[in-house]
Assembly symmetry: C2
Homo-oligomer: 165 residues x 2
Amino acid sequence: MVPLEKTEKRRQEIITAAAAHLVAHGFQNSGLRAIAQSAGISDRMIMYYFDTKEDLVAAALEMIGANIAAGMDDAVPQGNATPRQILDALQDALLSEEAQAIMRLWFEIIGLAMRGQQPYEQTAARLLQQSEEQIRAKLRADQKHRAREVLATLEGRVMVELLVE
Amino acid sequence: MVPLEKTEKRRQEIITAAAAHLVAHGFQNSGLRAIAQSAGISDRMIMYYFDTKEDLVAAALEMIGANIAAGMDDAVPQGNATPRQILDALQDALLSEEAQAIMRLWFEIIGLAMRGQQPYEQTAARLLQQSEEQIRAKLRADQKHRAREVLATLEGRVMVELLVE
DNA sequence: ACATTTTTGTAGCGTATGCTACGTTTTTTA
DNA sequence: TAAAAAACGTAGCATACGCTACAAAAATGT
């Protein structure tokens, strides 16, 4: 047992709790102490299981990114779709009541990524590229070159919709 | 002289300096002391001319918003344009070398607005609505109903372009 | 049973933040 | 010119942040 089973399990629990806290509260009130309280431990323990806060946040963002990707994958019926079909299906999914909190966090990540700081920039760039590939996979063969366009339009629509009452 | 000419002039100078600092450095390293240094004064003086830091930031954001709006207005040749023409012209303008820094700040504002905190949410919502109206004014009469769509696509394109290598 | 390692609690350090107390200089007004 | 107001400098407060020192408890291995 090289990475120690029990420790690794505890790490995952903390990552899950941190991800939930971030989705619920955003980055504003997500200091070590607040996250620790949401996880039911002390901030001291976070530093025990993770070298830095950034390590924990990066892990939590990775989990959140995976959730977004999974949600997008579920939202589009199958392959061989038209751009408009994909766009509408994804927009409905990402603006649904359950997805709104995570989408708000997503655009918070975007904002933090804009000056190149880690782990936000890497998370944002990776998830964008991954999303583009997902969309491309769902598009009809003769429309695959429009994946980037669909992605951009989707992001813009969701962003505007979340901000303009 | 009700609001005191000299004081008001000084306030405007500070607002301009603060806006330039925000565009150059983003919100990350924009504490009172850093902004004050960019303005060539002490943080004490900022509190003398403004009740709170938020007051100064709100004024700076208003100035920045006006700059963005003016840039968008200049970018589109005239009225009676097609959605694609407007979209392409605005995308080129907002992604130009000079506009990139301000656009990065814009998406930082978006991120901060996502949890409803002021003055970011108000600034973001107002500028989005204003942009939609500007676009609508440039569109051909039979295409004006597509202003929101053009705006969303524009925002998405710029955002993706700024983040994917 | 003992020694060693793993896990946890308490307290606090160093730094940065927005903001203020207090005093001094400069300008304005009478 | 004296008094009042405006403009500014120095120093520091209170709070929050990420993180650490130190030691005690709990688990583990021999």
